[in-house]
């Protein structure tokens, strides 16, 4: 796969379809939707790619989306609300005792959420198991997507999954949101850490390019979505 890397816009001039939901969730009027690194990837996935709806959250042959990078799930919750998986009213109350929405998502509490994450480096290994389970049960059309952050790749557990998935030619698509937040960076590029994977590096704000990249079924496939560099380190 070969997409030319587009210049990354530092601001998003157009009104984002999820802007009102994000504001409702964060109460934050100052930051544009571009503050949410995963927003456009998630929107493209749920709007254009994934065969899943509130009615099919338990269908055995549904597509699976696993948010491995459980940090900063505001965009995820906004997309789930926009697509009717959860009521919009849930967005007004994040992280309280009575809210199903935590600062990291819990699959047991939130319809449509496939895995509970927060500790980094767990989603890809589980995703490998999900893809294997779908294959073993004869659901060749069901796709598995796992979204990670570039800093999350620091965790060694990812590299167990990366090596095994390519060794067995597993149908699975990993998406790495690259906002250059890894403390020591990835000299040589992120795709180089996924040997044997069919990779595409695209502008993580360009929804047309994202859709083209995510449409491709690879075994396994990597989409690196580059967005604005994160300011400030640590977590």
């Amino acid at each position: 796969m070969n997409f030319k890397l587009q210049p990354i816009p530092m601001t998003v001039a157009y009104a984002h379809p999820l802007e009102h939901l994000i504001k409702r969730l964060t109460g934050d009027e100052k930051h544009a939707p571009s503050a949410h690194s995963t927003l456009d990837v998630l929107w493209v996935l749920y709007d254009k790619i994934l065969r899943i709806s509130p009615e099919t959250v338990d269908a055995p042959d549904r597509d699976r989306f696993l948010l491995s990078k459980g940090h900063g799930p505001a965009a995820y919750y906004a997309v789930l609300a926009a697509k009717g998986f959860i009521p919009e009213s849930w967005l007004d109350d994040l992280g309280s005792w009575d809210s199903p929405l935590g600062h990291h998502p819990d699959r047991v509490r939130i319809p449509g959420v496939e895995i509970g994450t927060g500790s980094l480096g767990h989603g890809l290994g589980i995703g490998v198991g999900v893809a294997l389970g779908l294959r073993a049960q004869g659901f060749p059309d069901a796709r598995t997507f796992v979204l990670l952050g570039d800093a999350e790749l620091d965790e060694g557990s990812n590299h167990e999954a990366i090596a095994y998935a390519s060794a067995i030619r597993l149908p699975l698509t990993a998406i790495v949101i690259d906002n250059q937040s890894a403390t020591h960076g990835w000299p040589g590029g992120i795709a180089a850490r996924f040997p044997g994977w069919a990779s595409a590096v695209v502008d993580g704000r360009d929804r047309v390019r994202l859709q083209q990249a995510l449409d491709r079924r690879e075994a396994p496939g990597l989409v690196v979505a580059r967005v604005e560099p994160k300011r400030g380190g640590g977590r």
Binding site: S119, I126, L132, G133, E160, A163, Y164
Partner: protein, 289 residues
């Protein structure tokens, strides 16, 4: 016990399309025939134990029943956070089957020993733990685990009792008498030998989690001795909770926390930890005197 595990799990794979097996190289050769027959369900991920548990969690989330196998220190100690999050936190189940136990790998050294596996699982929610004392006890445990989706740990070892004791999750009375001595799994034969001539009740369990609290209350008088093949005191909380309304004294025998740093046989290690018949006898006599 490992041979029984391979045979029974191979049969389960043949009989039930829901069954999957996840390996990290250990015992891969023994499962060769099963792997050739069921390449989509017998998965050897290589020497990658974190992935082994993650894969099991993912398989379970799609409705399969994963069996996971390696040496106890690799399947439990090394992958503890995966067990906590990729299984427990996802509300997913798996059947973990370990070999090696506390010191089967006596000549291999501490890297291949896991005296703390059951204690680690005790920090987590809803784990059923089986500690078979004889190879014939292993098959029913594996088959029962295929019928539900709960989290199950089966701890295999080379140390065996002379005869099997197949029963349910309740304490089985081996001998009736005075104070209660509970032997877990392969501790039964040494306990029976150690208590010969003593006025004690000997009870057996190969299902220490959940511990049979009601049986413990019925059988224990004012004194109870637990003899376990993993860290000494692992069941102290369970015994204390079961007997919380009853004045009692308790003695907890098991593997010591100190590292032996010697090789030899498992019998040498049992002796070093005071878990041979002579060691058990001396400690119980002192406790009851």
């Amino acid at each position: 016990m490992r041979d029984t595990f391979v045979k029974t799990t191979t049969e389960l794979l043949d009989d039930d399309p829901r069954t999957a097996l996840v390996l990290a190289d250990i015992s891969a050769d023994a499962f060769g025939p099963a792997m050739r027959r069921h390449p989509d369900r017998v998965l050897n991920v290589g020497i990658r134990e974190q992935l082994m548990i993650g894969v099991a969690g993912g398989l379970a989330l799609t409705g399969m029943r994963p069996y996971v196998h390696s040496y106890a220190p690799f399947v439990v100690d090394r992958a503890y956070e995966q067990i906590k999050l990729d299984l427990g936190h996802q509300d997913a189940g798996a059947v973990l089957v370990s070999i090696g136990a506390s010191y089967d790998g006596s000549a291999e050294g501490y890297t291949h020993q896991s005296p703390g596996d059951v204690a680690l699982l005790d920090t987590l929610e809803c784990w059923t733990v089986h500690v078979p004392g004889h190879r014939d006890e292993v098959g029913p445990m594996l088959r029962d685990a295929a019928r539900h989706d709960d989290r199950v740990y089966i701890r295999l070892t080379v140390q065996e009792n002379e005869i099997p004791h197949i029963g349910g999750p309740t304490l089985q009375v081996i001998r009736r008498g005075g104070p209660l001595v509970v032997a877990v799994g392969p501790m039964l034969d040494p306990v029976v030998e150690a208590t010969r001539g003593m006025d004690v009740t000997v009870a057996y369990t190969n299902a220490p989690r959940p511990l049979d609290a009601e049986g413990l209350r019925l059988l224990a008088g004012g004194e109870v001795v637990m003899v376990e093949p993993y860290l000494a005191g692992t069941s102290a909380r369970q015994v204390s909770e079961a007997l919380s309304g009853v004045p009692h004294r308790a003695l907890h025998l098991g593997v010591g926390h100190h590292e032996i740093r010697r090789y030899g046989s498992w019998q040498d290690h049992a002796k070093a930890h005071g878990l041979d018949a002579a060691g058990i006898k001396a400690k119980i006599q002192k406790f009851l005197d």
